[in-house]
Symmetry: C2
Subunit: 222 residues, 2 copies
């Protein structure tokens, strides 16, 4: 399968790219608004992966071309770019695409980070509202610390929650996520349940802030 990581030069994009390239047999497409930047990131990721896996199948493109070539398109862009990015690649998506959103809206103050969803109820539902009607949207990879993913020496033992209205699309993402070593994907129901999933992201950041030795903390549902 071909998996595009739009904004794949950013923190969470890098982490997902490295883990998916190392642990799965999927072809990874790094997307960026600037294709040159995407190719630079690919060179860097290939360097990271060189000693860790025999076959590295990872290429760089502009976001639109990455989306056009991919079966699964992950919006690994900051939350305030999510809507624009969906619209920029809308013509490259169809009913056979799966559009995956890991972004979370947050606001910070002196106490910590707070969940700050858009009017749609959650970033996941905003993506569903902005995507073409026929494109199935899946929320996943929300509560993973980018540094925990991108440091490949770090053995994961984490869960990620998947929300989807389209069961087949949800199953595709569950399968991919479960292929990453040390990552377990669980279902959290339809897109309407995304807000509670997204709101764990500011919480893990607050837990990291207020407890010793919990930098890059994640979550296990047990």
């Amino acid at each position: 399968m071909r998996i595009a990581l739009l904004g794949g030069t950013g923190d969470i994009g890098e982490g997902l790219a490295l883990r998916l390239a190392r642990d799965t047999s999927h072809e990874i497409l790094i997307g960026s608004r600037d294709p040159e930047k995407a190719r630079d990131a690919v060179a860097e990721y290939e360097g990271e992966l060189a000693d860790r896996t025999d076959e590295v199948d990872i290429k760089g493109f502009g976001n639109e071309m990455a989306a056009d070539r991919a079966d699964v398109v992950v919006l690994s862009v900051p939350p305030y770019y999510v809507g624009d990015t969906v619209e920029a690649v809308a013509d490259s998506l169809d009913a056979d695409s799966v559009l995956v959103t890991p972004a979370v809206g947050m606001q910070g103050d002196e106490d910590g980070l707070h969940y700050h969803p858009p009017d749609a109820g959650s970033v996941t539902e905003l993506v569903a509202a902005r995507a073409p009607d026929e494109v199935p949207v899946v929320g996943a990879f929300h509560n993973l610390a980018a540094d925990a993913l991108s440091n490949l020496d770090n053995e994961l033992d984490l869960d990620t929650l998947v929300v989807a209205d389209d069961d087949a699309a949800g199953d595709t993402v569950l399968t991919i996520a479960n292929e990453v070593d040390g990552l377990r994907a669980l279902e959290a129901g339809p897109l309407a349940n995304a807000a509670e999933v997204e709101s764990v992201t500011p919480l893990v950041i607050n837990i990291a802030k207020y407890n010793e030795d919990m930098h890059d903390v994640g979550v296990k549902w047990t």
Copy 2:
């Protein structure tokens, strides 16, 4: 220390009472609006505990008397009774009390449960607004499944998050929670961070609903 569980005849009250009575040396006071009901519950809990611990120090009272006698007062009542319960026991609380709130506002639909905070931002902040100014309020024990607690054959391996504006009160509750076998208490910052903590409760219920063999699921921050 004396710990009162107001509404201690309910599900989460029972679970906390049994665990605290078995695993700690604190004196447990079960409170109920009806003192007779509290004493009936105590007899039942003593039966549960009889073969499991040598010393059981647990008594039943009306909520006001339980609050009056206790150092730590846990509002283990349903969220819609929290405000009234705080006001009913307000005269029994003072600056040396610690008022602990585990309740969460939720609404359900066909998709699952959703976080539904009061206007105060969270039930924890509502308790702080309704409690006398000098009484320190602590949010804790929010995301624990009542059945997982009250089945004493079930070995816990769970975390609970503690929010507090008053550091000493927060530390008191962290210490008590850490005394329960298999429970680890972590800090999540001031009361302003309570919403993200409370919102994990509908999420664990949704995870239980959508995944096999995850009944009474809890959380570890790892």
